[in-house]
């Protein structure tokens, strides 16, 4: 993707400088104040050299030049000259009125606008050169000490020479002049790729300048997307890719394709997600300065999760910025009341800034700038973009780069970032490939619908969470009037149940258990009862036994008495009748037998 010369990045120029011979002065650079541009060129424009900014009309060439001059004046105190070949000075000024530059406060002698348009009725007779202009500029330089100059739209003047060689000569003259005067210069040149002449001029400029920047634009659907490309940079490495560019309130902004990556501040501090059980699962909340992606189908409470984070931060006295696309802030505030989150209070207290953007009609670059400007104004701890897919899922070639850059910038400032992403109900693999952004997110929560028994329930999974031990369990995300919370799902009998199915299953289990308890109690009661009955019967029988035994004893003793008395009677009778020698004995065993029977 890159030129071979750029391969030595990112071990930046410093390394190469030391390797150079002492004979050659390493190129020195002047920052342009366009952060992304300074990043891709490793410092800005070459000092004391000629830079060409090429692009079609309306691409921001003049703005680029003016921004450079103003930045040099304000940050380095270097006065500048702006030579306009196309536009009258009052129009240049009025073009800048819409920006936040406060251009009118710049003293005229510090940043001089020079009208170098030939009078409208000028007649050209033969060839001319720019010596007159340069002589005038030398005089101005001597007066103000200017060290930067912009020749805006030089093609208009030198084009009227109508001769390639003469054009070349004049460009060379400018180059010679800036070297003599020690000026750093930008020439802006219109380019229409169609004409052969323009192409030749573009080639010529490539030869004659040390740095060539090309500004281009493409129309995607109805939205204009700008790009900037460094085509050449003598003596310096550079990122040769086209990078997204935008023109906003502060002028030209360039969003480098290569995010800085790494070197982020590291925090141990945790930021509450606003969902108590989620915090618990994550070991106390999200890590401050980390990036969180919440993915899921429409209606899976992604926004609610995002709002929870914001509300928790605001309630803790922290600032937050909530960026929504295609949904007004009023609507969101109203919607969130239904889950018991009062955003109005935080907006009123100044803790929360709501930013509503329209995704159509704004290029991702412009959206990026709007988001970033509000971040810089507000200085939040938490930044939410809902949905982030407004950046990353569009047809723009740099949408993904921009989403990455946003996350990168947030991280570099220690801002906890949460973006939501609309993902379908596909399987896990599809979901992963669907979003590049997921690779740079530290924590990825996925909310999906589980359809069971005619109802949809939300299931939350932590797909990944860097630096946090986390559960692999799917949890049910429950919304109620008091906000969000996680509920353990019913997991048993090889099934995972959510929602009313879970509730039903749990109730059914409870019923079954109750029933079993009752059955047990009843059986226990019955057994106890019969044991008691048996025990009573046993007692009765013991008593009966005892009484029978007693009876028997009595009977026996009565019999003994009878036998005894009968013996006595026999004896007495024998004595009386003297018949004792008959058979008194055999009577006795017979009586004994009778007694045994009892």
């Amino acid at each position: 993707m890159r030129k071979s010369s750029a391969k030595q990045r990112p071990g930046p120029l410093k390394v190469r400088k030391s390797g150079r011979g002492a004979k050659h002065q390493p190129i020195r650079k002047k920052s342009t104040g366009i952060i992304g541009f300074d990043q891709i060129t490793d410092g800005g424009l070459p000092e004391g050299r000629l830079t060409a900014v090429i692009g079609g009309p309306g691409m921001g060439k003049s703005l680029f030049g003016l921004q450079y001059l103003l930045h040099r004046l304000r940050t380095a105190g270097e006065p500048g000259l702006f030579v306009t070949f196309e536009e009258p000075i009052d129009r240049v000024r009025s073009n800048l009125a819409g920006l936040d530059w406060d251009f009118d406060s710049v003293p005229e002698d510090q940043l001089t606008l020079i009208d170098a348009r030939l009078p409208a009725d000028t007649v050209q007779v033969g060839s001319f050169d720019l010596t007159g202009l340069l002589a005038g500029l030398s005089a101005r330089k001597a007066a103000s000490g200017a060290s930067n100059v912009v020749f805006d739209g030089i093609d208009l003047l030198i084009g009227s020479l109508n001769d390639e060689h003469l054009e070349r000569r004049e460009l060379a003259r400018i180059d010679e002049w800036i070297r003599e005067e020690g000026m750093s210069a930008i020439v802006t040149v219109k380019a229409y790729s169609s004409s052969e002449r323009e192409q030749k001029r573009a080639d010529l400029i490539q030869y004659l300048t040390d740095c060539v920047v090309r500004l281009e634009g493409t129309l995607f659907h109805a939205t204009f997307s700008r790009t900037l490309r460094v085509m050449k940079y003598r003596g310096s490495g550079f990122a040769a890719n086209a990078v997204p560019m935008a023109i906003g309130q502060s002028g030209v902004e360039v969003i480098p394709a290569e995010a800085s990556r790494g070197g982020y501040p590291v925090f141990a501090e945790r930021v509450s997600s606003g969902v108590p059980r989620l915090d618990a699962i994550l070991g106390g909340g999200f890590i401050r300065g980390s990036s969180i992606l919440v993915s899921g189908a429409p209606g899976t409470a992604k926004t609610s999760l995002a709002v929870s984070l914001v509300a928790a931060a605001c309630a803790g006295g922290r600032k937050a910025v909530f960026v929504s696309f295609d949904e007004s802030d009023v609507q969101i505030v109203a919607n969130m009341k239904s889950i018991g989150v009062d955003l109005e209070r935080h907006v009123a207290s100044g803790h929360l800034a709501m930013v509503s953007l329209r995704s159509s009609g704004n290029s991702p670059e412009e959206c990026f700038l709007k988001v970033w400007n509000s971040v810089q104004r507000h200085g939040p701890h938490v930044l939410v973009v809902d949905p982030l897919s407004a950046f990353s899922d569009t047809a723009y070639p740099f949408a993904y780069v921009i989403a990455e850059n946003l996350i990168d910038l947030a991280k570099s400032k220690g801002i906890t970032f949460l973006g939501t992403s609309l993902l379908g109900q596909g399987g896990g693999e599809i979901e992963i490939s669907a979003s590049h952004v997921s690779t740079i997110a530290d924590t990825w929560l996925h909310v999906s619908y589980v359809v069971q028994n005619g109802e949809r329930n939300r299931a939350l999974t932590i797909v990944k969470s860097r630096g946090t031990a986390h559960s692999n369990q799917v949890r049910e995300l429950a919304l109620n009037g008091n906000g969000l919370d996680l509920v353990d799902v019913y997991a048993g009998e090889g099934k995972v149940l959510l929602g009313s199915a879970r509730v039903e299953k749990q109730q059914e289990e409870m019923r079954t258990e109750n029933l079993e308890e009752i059955t047990y109690k009843r059986r226990k009661f019955e057994l106890d009862h019969s044991i008691a009955g048996l025990k009573a019967r046993a007692q009765e029988m013991i008593e009966e036994l005892a009484s029978k035994q007693r009876e028997a004893e009595l009977e026996e003793s009565a019999e003994e008495f009878r036998i005894a008395s009968r013996q006595t009677a026999v004896t007495q009778r024998g004595l009386i009748r003297r018949q004792a020698d008959d058979t008194p004995v055999p009577l006795r065993p017979r009586i004994q037998r009778t007694g045994q029977k009892l």
């Binding site: 009078p119 050209q124 007779v125 005038g136 005089a139």
Partner: protein, 115 residues
């Protein structure tokens, strides 16, 4: 050069038009002293005035912007050579080395015309 730089050249004083009063045309030629374009322009203007004007007074001022850069600023000189011609009715600006005698003559006539 500087001795020659500012001079008044009376091409012809003979015939007098418009009620005996000389018609005066101011010509200011901005040059960059040594450059070929400028030198050609000076020569071309000189030749044109020599062969052309009988009835008009031309006051010619030659300004070397390399010698007087401030003048280039105040007079908003953009390219060299630039010829500014001030006539009674109109002001004309010509840029270039004036290498087309026919065209130059036409322009000088236009400046001088009263219509």
């Amino acid at each position: 050069m500087s001795a020659k730089a500012v001079q008044t050249r009376r091409a012809s004083v003979a015939s007098v038009k418009s009620g005996g009063k000389d018609l005066e045309i101011c010509l200011r030629l901005y040059v960059a002293s040594w450059t070929p374009n400028s030198q050609r322009a000076e020569a071309n203007l000189d030749a044109a005035l020599r062969e052309f004007t009988e009835s008009t007074v031309y006051r010619v001022e030659i300004i070397d912007v390399l010698a007087d850069g401030k003048r280039a600023v105040t007079d908003s000189v953009i390219v060299t050579p630039t010829l500014v011609a001030l006539g009674p009715k109109r002001r004309l600006v010509m840029v270039g080395d004036l290498s087309d005698p026919g065209k130059l003559r036409g322009l000088l006539e236009a400046v001088a015309s009263l219509g």
